[in-house]
């Protein structure tokens, strides 16, 4: 049973960050407290265009239950979401739409590319398909697979959570981040 506790499918409650605790109080840095709150309440925006989207529906379903990781509430408005999940083939004609959705999301925001098509174009090495969404928007985590199993998608979400929990509060104001946005011709 101890082994089962460590499986990604049986998450434990979020561990408290480093800090000073005493009777009736707990003190930690603001950054860690904010990171803890953010990573355990991600609001994903599912951008599902094909079969990877079906796997995601299984991931959200009762069996795999993504809600256990704090992503209970899917947001279908980019303005109210902080994680863009691109799942499936993105045609070149869809590219500007995806880019617009990313721009409309409020900072801080993260992107996960689920499946071979979103990551690299996959088997669709052809004139009409975008060869990976990282050509138009920055991507934080890539999930391989065609399509990936729900376990892999959950693994990707946990990788995102690690990034979210450890992100510096000043990262989005850094010169590095500005250069990244400039690279994608944003702002």
């Amino acid at each position: 049973m101890a082994e089962k506790q460590n499986s990604i499918l049986t998450p434990t409650t979020a561990a408290a960050p480093e800090g000073i605790s005493g009777q009736g109080f707990f003190a930690t840095s603001l950054e860690k407290a904010v990171g803890l709150a953010r990573k355990n309440s991600l609001w994903p925006l599912p951008f599902a265009t094909s079969c990877c989207g079906i796997e995601f529906m299984a991931t959200m379903g009762s069996h795999y239950d993504l809600a256990r990781f704090g992503s209970e509430r899917l947001s279908f408005s980019p303005r109210q979401s902080d994680l863009l999940m691109v799942m499936g083939t993105v045609a070149k004609k869809m590219g500007p739409v995806l880019r617009e959705i990313y721009i409309q999301m409020a900072e801080p925001k993260w992107v996960i590319a689920v499946g071979a098509c979103a990551s690299s174009g996959g088997i669709f090495d052809t004139y009409s398909v975008l060869q990976g969404i990282d050509r138009i928007i920055p991507v934080d985590v890539y999930v391989p697979g065609c399509p990936p199993r729900p376990e892999q998608i959950i693994d990707g979400i946990i990788k995102i959570q690690e990034l979210v929990g450890n992100e510096s509060l000043r990262r989005r104001n850094s010169a590095e981040y500005e250069a990244l946005m400039k690279k994608y011709n944003m702002e």
């Binding site: 070149k92 004609k93 690299s120 174009g121 052809t126 004139y127 009409s128 398909v129 060869q131």
Partner: protein
């Protein structure tokens, strides 16, 4: 599938050869479907005749699409027509040069040819003269190539991660 009607095929061929003897380049029956190739100069009156002749009445344009013959440097268009009143199908083909791919539009005969001609222009680059709005319909607007021509490379040319030796090149 449509009903085989060899008698009807012969009847249609007779009417057409009586009226367009010099325009018809070739006639054949492929899988029981009558297929007639005409010169591009005659294609518009030929299609109009097929629609308006009282014996024929091909009042429905089932589909229309482009073809590319790289070995003879020609582009072609094939029209699939259906006579709802006679329940008979016919296929009409025509060809134009690759260097100057111009054909008359069929939108003035069947308005449904509009989007199909746009698609044919999009993928083969055939210019339909007289078309009300001949712009790309499926591909991205800023595309300059015609991707269904045989000389268009199938794979995306912007990929850098593919190792040619893995694909026997």
């Amino acid at each position: 599938m449509f009903k085989i009607n060899a008698e009807r095929n012969k009847f249609v061929v007779k009417i057409l050869s009586d009226n367009f003897s010099e325009a018809i380049v070739q006639q054949e029956v492929i899988l029981d479907m009558l297929c007639i190739t005409v010169t591009k100069e005659a294609i518009n009156p030929f299609l109009l005749f097929l629609r308006d002749n009282n014996e024929l009445k091909y009042d429905f344009l089932t589909t229309l699409c482009g073809m590319h013959y790289p070995e003879i440097d020609q582009l072609g268009v094939v029209y699939h027509l259906h006579s709802l009143t006679n329940n008979h199908y016919i296929r009409v083909k025509t060809a134009t040069e690759l260097s100057n791919p111009v054909l008359p539009t069929a939108t003035n005969i069947w308005p449904s040819a509009n989007w199909m001609e746009r698609e044919t222009f999009d993928f083969f680059g055939i210019q339909f003269q007289g078309h009300p709005n001949l712009v790309r319909i499926l591909n991205v607007d800023d595309m300059t190539a015609f991707p269904l021509r045989k000389d268009f490379p199938l794979e995306d040319q912007t990929r850098e991660d593919k190792d040619d030796s893995m694909f026997g090149r």
